[in-house]
């Protein structure tokens, strides 16, 4: 399992290399609400819970919440 972990970290490092530096005053577009990585976090949680109940593989950008007896 640790092999997968190290491969993942290496892959992310590769992905993030080569990024240009964006100064704080150049981030106006990034600050727009629809440029957030998750513009509707509340609704996204409900959707994710539906998927969690019906699909075998779960996991996203955050830690999962409580378990459930979803059928």
């Amino acid at each position: 399992m640790s092999k997968f972990f190290h491969c993942g970290v290496f892959a992310m490092t590769l992905l993030l290399s080569g990024c240009t530096t964006v100064k704080p005053w150049e981030r106006g577009i990034l600050a727009k609400p629809h440029m957030a990585l998750e513009p509707s976090p509340g609704y996204a949680q409900i959707m994710q819970h539906s998927f969690f109940s019906k699909e075998a593989i779960t996991g996203g950008a955050g830690l999962g919440g409580s378990g459930c007896g979803c059928n």
Partner: protein, 482 residues
């Protein structure tokens, strides 16, 4: 610093929260003022299946300049019916027996016929009908023999179960009385036809209540969050806690998060009050978000979870042809990985945002899944915004999954839970968002449609098509900043 204009406040908060990442990875500063969000959603599966009313509330408030409190609450009102197990349509037929052929069971799906030799057992499920004195027959007479089929399962102690195929079936062939040359003996065999899901006959109702509180401490470019909560249902109790560290680097263009959560759950069954079992889950998260340019963001996250204990579903059953109905029995351990990626690109010509997500996940139950999601957020002016999204999910089946089993497995694990089958699912949704400017209120209505099809799996076929279904999710959200 307090911004009184809602739009300015929102923009300022977002700017401070650069690189503009979501609640899973917010930046190292508390919210500027208390904010709350209420969400009502209605989940509805097609046919006579599940329906859930969902009431969700989220609130955050700053405490001084270094702390933040958060609350998350959910109430689900659940009703409907759920698949319990699968039964094939079973008929018998008689065919001439090859001198060396073993008795066989045929499983017939829409597209294939599978002949499985039956290994002799202490109580052989199939009895070859020897016909040493058989006389010639123009055609072998094939009479479908009724095989006990389960009554729909009632969630009670006196659960009727279909009998296993274990008794000899009456010879369907009537020996003629006149003398004719001898023929090969006839063999009776079972033919397994299309599969049907068996549901609870009585719809059940339940409630799920979730309470979760969080406490965040901000110091410099770092944030430490502790969360704790509980979820309670009549047949399931979950207690959990988590800790997450987050740091910003490279002039706040890189955000790194590491988190750990622990769940301690108790599983019960409404129809078996004496039943209680435990399971634990440990989840590890490593996430990196990066500003790629003035108009693009990327986030990549690795999830690893270890689940131990009772990982079956106490309501699910499995039909084994030579045994009968048994409990769903899964391994008591599961290791799972998920690699989740998000990319956001601004489209200057339309001031739109294109979101693309991809996830690959797998576990040691041999389930592997790909998820692709794309969304387009289009501002319409007057603070209106329209979003369209589509999603495709596909998974392979668990190693111990089959719609039903012909005979026992040496591993002793069985599941016919449709969620462990191979399938693909397409979903699409639309969302309309309005940010008011005279009051600090944002409203959002959303509608999503999800359809699962066995044949949409990457490596799928129509064998599990009996389990196909769809659901809709409609939602209204109100967000208020005090």
């Amino acid at each position: 610093m307090v911004a009184t204009n809602p739009s300015l406040a929102a923009l300022t908060a977002a700017a401070l929260a650069l690189p503009g990442i979501s609640s899973e990875a917010q930046a190292a500063s508390p919210v500027l003022s208390p904010e709350a969000e209420f969400n009502f959603a209605y989940y509805n599966e097609n046919g006579r299946r599940m329906a859930v009313e969902i009431y969700q509330i989220d609130a955050k408030a700053p405490v001084g300049s270094e702390f933040e409190l958060s609350f998350h609450g959910v109430k689900d009102v659940i009703s409907g019916a759920s698949p319990i197990f699968n039964l094939p349509d079973i008929t018998t037929e008689s065919v001439p027996q090859s001198p060396r052929a073993a008795p066989t069971v045929h499983a017939r799906s829409r597209a294939s016929i599978i002949a499985v030799p039956i290994i002799p057992r202490p109580t052989p499920p199939l009895i070859t009908t020897p016909t040493p004195d058989i006389k010639p027959l123009p055609e072998p007479i094939i009479e479908p023999t009724p095989v006990p089929i389960a009554e729909p399962v009632v969630p009670s102690d006196s659960e009727p179960t279909p009998a296993p195929i274990s008794k000899p079936i009456a010879d369907p062939v009537t020996p003629p009385t006149h003398d004719v040359p001898q023929q090969l003996p006839l063999q009776t065999r079972y033919v397994f036809g299309p599969v049907r899901q068996q549901f609870t006959t009585q719809g059940f109702t339940d409630e799920r209540n979730v309470f979760d509180t969080g406490f965040s401490y901000f110091i410099g470019d770092h944030k430490l969050t502790l969360n704790g909560g509980a979820s309670h249902e009549n047949d399931y109790v979950s207690n959990y806690g988590s800790a997450t560290w987050q740091g910003e680097f490279n002039d706040k263009t890189t955000t790194v998060s590491f988190g750990f959560s622990y769940l301690d759950d108790t599983v019960r069954a409404i129809n078996r009050p004496w039943f209680s079992a435990g399971k634990t889950s440990r989840q590890y998260l490593l996430s990196v978000a990066q500003v790629l340019s003035k108009t693009s963001l990327l986030q990549s996250s690795l999830n690893f979870s270890v689940d131990q204990g009772f990982l079956s579903d106490p309501y699910k059953r499995v039909y084994i042809a030579d045994t009968g109905i048994v409990d769903d029995q899964r391994p008591n351990e599961r290791y799972q990985w998920a690699w989740f990626n998000r990319y956001v690109q601004h489209i200057p010509a339309l001031d739109a945002a294109l979101h693309f997500d991809y996830r690959f996940g797998f576990n040691d139950w041999r389930v592997a899944a790909h998820t692709f999601q794309i969304a387009w957020y289009q501002p319409l002016g007057q603070q209106w915004q329209l979003a369209l999204q589509g999603r495709y999910y596909t998974q392979s089946s668990a190693s111990f999954y089959q719609p039903y089993f012909l005979t026992h497995r040496d591993e002793g694990t069985y599941s016919s839970d449709y969620r462990l089958a191979a399938f693909g699912a397409l979903s699409g949704g639309i969302k309309l968002i309005k940010q008011f400017t005279d009051i600090p209120l944002k409203t959002e209505i959303a509608f999503d449609y999800y359809r699962r099809q066995a044949e949409w799996a990457f490596n799928g076929s129509a064998v599990d098509a009996f389990a196909d279904y769809s659901f809709t999710l409609a939602s209204v959200t109100l967000s208020y900043r005090f």
